[in-house]
């Protein structure tokens, strides 16, 4: 289906989120929409998928101007949207998830639906069990489910909002293959992303948005440098690798065994030195979460010892770990890291170790102003944390960390952030490393792992590699390990 957007305008208060955007997407095309966080990509897509009304402008499908009144109306027109955070129902079975919202008789025939799921899944080589519960799936599998559902409902235009965030490399490859197949069938694919490299390998043409405006369009082949310039209005470089200057032992894991409901890992050994960065790679849910929580005292290991700076802290609580200079920044920023409703000043005051009952507002505001400047947070001391964008929330979290620290544990430190914020956050983290702080971080972004780690541990369904020197690794090799192959000849990595 051919999709045309004509002169779309959308205001949120004074903010001109979409300023006269024109797009023409023929059927069978994979259209990339590129732009940094807050560029107006999501707004535009939400207009197309019936979430928002445009203040002015036209949506034309196959030459016919239409109005879309709601998301369910959009799907009736054949437009389906896959949200960044899949809008499904985690406590339900796949089957019920699939069914929910589909019109029909009072008692749906679940057998037919289960068969439909299996037929569709087989078409795209997905392995989805209709009887499984959604909360046991990875984000990638939830995407697959949602794509199948939208197709089942008759979607001919598929909008994907940041679909490569939080899925593994192999799932990404499968997603791209699926999208190419769909485009081959004449479906229109709109691929929204801030990741240039994803857009480059997948899309037939790309449109770049910046602060609500359509900056430019380009068909394949793309000029990488020009794209970056269009996105940010300037050139950006990744920065150099810092040489590792290892200090004394910060963290020592001996014969560690960790488990959660699904996984059991054992025999983990690690000597982490001051200033060192360890990247934890693997598909989501392969054991990185329990491992990093065991390092922070949030999860009690079933066997083995954890030593921090020479002190045996096995089985101690997170507070004791914190006292020894271990800090943990979990993946869910708003749920586990920040307090919604409190301002930046209040956060900084909370994190300070001060005595007394009453808040010294003048001092707090001054502290907040200092941190806001030094961490380049786009916000004011009185901004509530939920009003900040993802990148700025992450900066605020970093600004909240105390100095000095022995060990910082991070889960997906740059997930959902654009290149500029990513580079900034890592420059701040590397500053810490130079002062002797060690870092362990989880990421599903292979580039990030290879760029910033000194050593890498790969997780695959309850197995863990010994720490591998990053110099011996490539994207391909890492990708293989994450997918479970190449585990037999690993001994080369046991350096340090």
């Amino acid at each position: 289906m051919r999709v045309e957007l004509r002169n779309i305008h959308k205001y949120f208060g004074k903010n001109h989120a979409n300023a006269g955007i024109n797009l023409d997407i023929p059927s069978g095309t994979i259209q990339g929409i590129l732009g940094e966080n807050g560029a107006g990509k999501s707004t535009l897509m939400k207009i197309l998928s019936g979430y928002f009304y445009a203040d002015s402008g036209e949506i034309i499908l196959d030459g016919k101007a239409i109005t879309i009144s709601s998301p369910s109306d959009a799907i009736k027109h054949g437009i389906g949207m896959l949200h960044q955070d899949p809008l499904d129902f985690p406590p339900m079975r796949l089957l019920d998830n699939f069914l929910l919202g589909r019109e029909g008789g009072l008692f749906p025939d679940r057998k037919v639906v289960a068969r439909d799921i299996q037929t569709l899944a087989a078409q795209f080589n997905f392995s989805l069990d209709p009887e499984a519960y959604v909360d046991t799936l990875t984000v990638g599998e939830r995407q697959q489910l949602e794509i199948l559902r939208l197709l089942w409902l008759g979607a001919r235009v598929l909008i994907l909002d940041e679909p490569t965030t939080g899925i593994s490399a192999s799932q990404k490859a499968k997603l791209f293959e699926t999208l190419r197949t769909l485009a081959g069938q004449g479906k229109t694919i709109i691929f929204v992303s801030h990741k240039l490299e994803d857009v480059e390998v997948l899309c037939h043409k790309v449109a770049v948005l910046r602060s609500g405006q359509l900056i430019g369009e380009s068909p394949v082949p793309f000029d990488h440098k020009k794209m970056v310039e269009m996105m940010f209005g300037k050139e950006i470089s990744l920065g150099d690798r810092y040489p590792l200057n290892a200090g004394g032992k910060v963290l020592e894991l001996k014969n560690l065994a960790v488990e959660d409901v699904r996984l059991h890992m054992e025999d983990i050994h690690l000597d982490l030195h001051g200033g060192e960065v360890i990247g934890l790679a693997g598909m989501e849910g392969s054991g990185q979460g329990p491992f990093i929580r065991a390092c922070s005292g949030l999860l009690r290991p079933v066997n083995g010892r954890v030593q921090v700076n020479g002190h045996d802290l096995t089985g101690k609580s997170h507070h004791i770990f914190k006292r020894h200079g271990v800090s943990f920044l979990p993946a869910s920023r708003m749920e586990e890291g920040l307090v919604p409703g409190l301002t930046l000043t209040e956060h900084f005051v909370l994190a300070e170790k001060t005595q007394g009952v009453f808040i010294d507002h003048a001092k707090g505001t001054k502290l907040a102003e200092e941190r806001i400047t030094s961490f380049n947070i786009r916000g004011t001391p009185v901004s509530t944390v939920e009003s900040l964008s993802g990148g700025n929330q992450q900066r605020a979290l970093l600004a909240l960390l105390q100095t000095p620290l022995s060990l910082i544990l991070l889960e997906h430190p740059t997930r959902g952030l654009d290149i500029e914020s990513t580079i900034y956050i890592w420059s701040k983290l590397k500053e810490r490393c130079k002062q002797g702080t060690s870092i362990i971080f989880v990421s599903s972004d292979l580039e990030e792992i290879l760029q910033y780690s000194d050593r890498v541990m790969v997780f695959f369904s309850g197995k863990v590699t010994p720490p591998l020197d990053v110099a011996t690794l490539t994207t391909e090799k890492l990708g293989q390990l994450i997918g479970g192959s190449g585990w037999n000849n690993l001994n080369s990595g046991k350096s340090l």
Partner: protein, 331 residues
């Protein structure tokens, strides 16, 4: 089996009907994502109102209908103030619980301690003659039979029908339900009112059947709404489990009465109050798997028993509708 035990157990089924209606009504309401905390007050008000109407019209049907209308009306106030006026469901529910209770006592004064109509026993032909099951289930009255039907219907509706699936959806992730075409706030209104109407049957089921008559503060119904609220949670928002909880509570109360005569050494108050802490204990056990110290304790156990307990705790744990009590705005 001793026939007196059978009759006693049948009495438990009948006595459980009010709790059951309240629990099923609340389960439906909370499934939609709304907490109707006014339950205790609305049950009392419907008990008084239902009795008064049945007495004045000398017609049981109007009495039960009045109870349902009162329950629906109170539920409507909860829905209107939370969905339309964006007020806190908890605060409004609390105030309504107290206000409706006192209103019931105040308005009920003229109807106190007077004999009124009572629901007759209606034995179901054929079914009543089934050995054991007949005397246990089918020699009671029409409102108790209705309570069985309500359990099954509520379960069927929530878990087997298409609209029921959407009901689960709006309580769990209203944003996702909205994308799939639900008018979330309208559905929440509807289910809150339906839930309130079913809970409104609890009152007349008591004052026209279980313990006929209105006796003001001596009616013995006060507190049942709060128990129903906790059974809703214990029941994991599923009508079947909730029904089990309601029957368990009724059984404990009956045992309290029976044991009173068998164990004269124990003060009667202890046995009367026992069901309440026992319910709390059950609640604790159901949700104990969430506690951090339990997780730590589990981690220190040997392999085999750890697996077993982890599975057991997960199976027992019920997760509430994720958007329970959270208002929904579709931008």
């Amino acid at each position: 089996m001793d026939p007196s035990v059978l009759i006693g157990l049948a009495g438990v089924l009948a006595a459980a009907a009010p709790v059951l209606f309240a629990v099923i009504g609340e389960t439906i309401t909370e499934r939609a994502g709304v907490i109707n905390l006014s339950l205790n007050g609305s049950v009392l008000l419907s008990a008084m109102g239902g009795f008064a109407v049945a007495y004045l019209t000398d017609n049981l049907f109007w009495g039960f209908l009045a109870g349902m209308l009162i329950g629906a009306l109170v539920a409507f106030i909860v829905a209107f103030s939370s969905i339309t006026l964006h007020q806190s469901q908890v605060a409004v529910g609390f105030v309504l619980a107290l206000a409706s209770r006192d209103l019931a006592y105040f308005l009920g004064v003229p109807y106190m301690n007077i004999p009124g109509p009572t629901l007759p026993t209606w034995q179901i032909p054929l079914l009543k003659d089934i050995p054991l099951l007949g005397p246990l289930f089918f020699r009671l009255d029409i409102i108790t039979y209705l309570s069985y039907i309500v359990i099954v219907l509520a379960w069927l509706w929530i878990f087997r029908t298409r609209p029921g699936l959407m009901l689960q959806g709006i309580g769990d992730r209203p944003a996702a339900a909205f994308v799939r075409g639900a008018n979330v706030n309208r559905l929440r209104y509807i289910y809150t009112i339906i839930g309130g109407a079913i809970a409104g049957l609890a009152g007349p089921a008591y004052t026209l059947n279980v313990k006929p008559g209105w006796m003001g503060t001596q009616t013995g119904l006060d507190g049942i709404g709060w128990i129903a609220l906790s059974i809703t949670i214990f029941g994991g928002w599923s009508p079947m489990r909730a029904a089990f909880g309601a029957y368990l509570f009724s059984l404990l109360q009956w045992l309290g009465l029976v044991l009173q005569s068998r164990l004269p050494g124990i003060p009667s108050q202890v046995l009367q109050v026992a069901p309440f802490p026992l319910m709390i204990l059950t609640l604790l056990l159901v949700n104990i798997g969430n506690a951090e110290w339990v997780q730590r304790w589990l981690a220190s156990m040997p392999e085999g028993s750890r697996r077993f307990f982890t599975k057991l705790l997960r199976a027992m744990r019920a997760s509430p509708p994720a958007a329970l009590g959270v208002p929904f705005e579709s931008d």
